[in-house]
Amino acid sequence: MPPSSDQDRRLEHDRSRAAEATLQLVLDVDWVSPSIARDRLRRWLTAHRWSPAHVDDLVLALNEAVSNSIEHGHGLTAPTRDDSAQPVEVHGRVVTESDGARHVELTVRDRGSWRAPADAHSSAGSSRGHGVTIMRACVEEVTVDRTDDGTTVVLRSRSVPPPLT
C-alpha cells in the first residue's frame, strides 16, 4: 500500500535510508541534537542487524561525544541553541575485517574551541568526567584529536561476528 500521509512517507523514506552503508549527520549546536543522533544511530545499527546490547553501548558513547561537542566545544551549558555555530558532524561506517567480523567506526567532529566546563569547580566537578568514562567503557577505542579548528572524536566499537545468513 502506498504511503498515505506525510508522516508515512517520512517513515518510508527513513526506512530506505536506514540500511545505507554510512551514517551521515549534520547537527545543530543545540541540546536537542544528541537525541537526534541517538535515534538515527539506533535505526542505522538495527538495519545492520547489530545486537541490542551493542547498540545500547554505541548509542551511549555517541551521545557523550555529541554532548561534549555541544557543551565543551561551544560552551552551551544550558538547554539552548547557538545558531551561529558551525554544525557538529557525525560520520559512521561499518568496517568488515579480514575474518568477516565487523566493527563500527563513528567520527564526531566539531569546529568549536574547547573550553573548560563552566562549573568545573562546583561540588559536582568530580562527576564531570563521566562522559569520557562512559565512552571508554562502551567502545573498544576512543581517539580524541583536538586542534585550534575543533575536536574530532573517533569511537571504534568492539568487533562482532559476521551476520548469520
Binding site: 541540546w31 536537542v32 544528541p34 537525541s35 541517538r38 546490547a53 545500547d56 553501548d57 548509542v59 551511549l60 551521545n63 557523550e64 554532548s67 555541544i70 557543551e71 544550558a78 538547554p79 539552548t80 561540588s123 559536582a124 562527576s127 564531570r128 563521566h130 562522559g131 568514562t133 562512559i134 567503557a137 562502551c138
Partner: protein
C-alpha cells in the same frame, strides 16, 4: 495541559513553549505521600532534559521534611552523563542537607539505565531498589 510546578524549566520554559516537541523526551511526575515524595521519571534523561529532572529534585527536596524521596527511573529509556551528574548532585544534596538514606532510586536492573550507573560507579553511592514498593518498605538503611 497546565504543567506541574516541578516541570518548569530553569529558564522559565520559554524555549519549550517555542518548541513543544522537546517536552516529549522526558516527563517527571511528582506524587506526595505521607511517608515519601515519589518522582516518576519517564523517557530520556540527557543534556537537554536533565535540568528539568534537577529542578524536580530540588523542588522535592525543599518540601521533603523527614520523608523519603523515591526517584523511580524504571521507565527511563536513556540515561546519559548529564542525568548521572544530576543524580550524583542529588545524592550530595541529600547527604549535606538531609540524610543520604532519604534518597532512594528505583531502577530496572536491566539495561539501559543500570549500565551507565554501574560504569561510573554511582551504584556504590545511590541506594538502588527494584520497585517503588521495595524502596518505600525498606527500613532505616544505616
Amino acid at each position: 495541559m497546565k504543567p506541574a510546578s516541578d516541570e518548569r524549566t530553569p529558564d522559565g520554559g520559554e524555549y519549550l513553549a517555542a518548541r513543544p516537541d522537546r517536552e516529549q523526551l522526558l516527563s517527571v511526575r511528582s506524587t506526595d505521600r505521607d511517608d515519601a515524595v515519589v518522582l516518576t521519571v519517564e523517557g530520556d534523561v540527557d543534556g537537554l532534559t536533565a535540568p528539568r529532572l534537577g529542578t524536580a529534585l530540588a523542588s522535592a527536596f525543599n518540601r521533603l521534611g523527614g520523608r523519603l524521596l523515591v526517584v523511580d527511573l524504571s521507565r527511563v529509556v536513556f540515561l546519559g552523563s548529564s542525568g548521572l551528574r544530576t543524580l550524583h548532585e542529588s545524592a550530595l544534596v541529600a547527604a549535606r542537607e538531609h540524610d543520604l538514606d532519604q534518597l532512594r532510586i528505583v531502577v530496572d536492573h536491566t539495561r539501559p539505565v543500570i549500565r551507565p550507573i554501574e560504569i561510573v560507579g554511582l551504584d556504590q553511592v545511590l541506594a538502588l531498589f527494584n520497585t517503588v514498593s521495595d524502596a518505600l518498605a525498606a527500613g532505616d538503611l544505616r
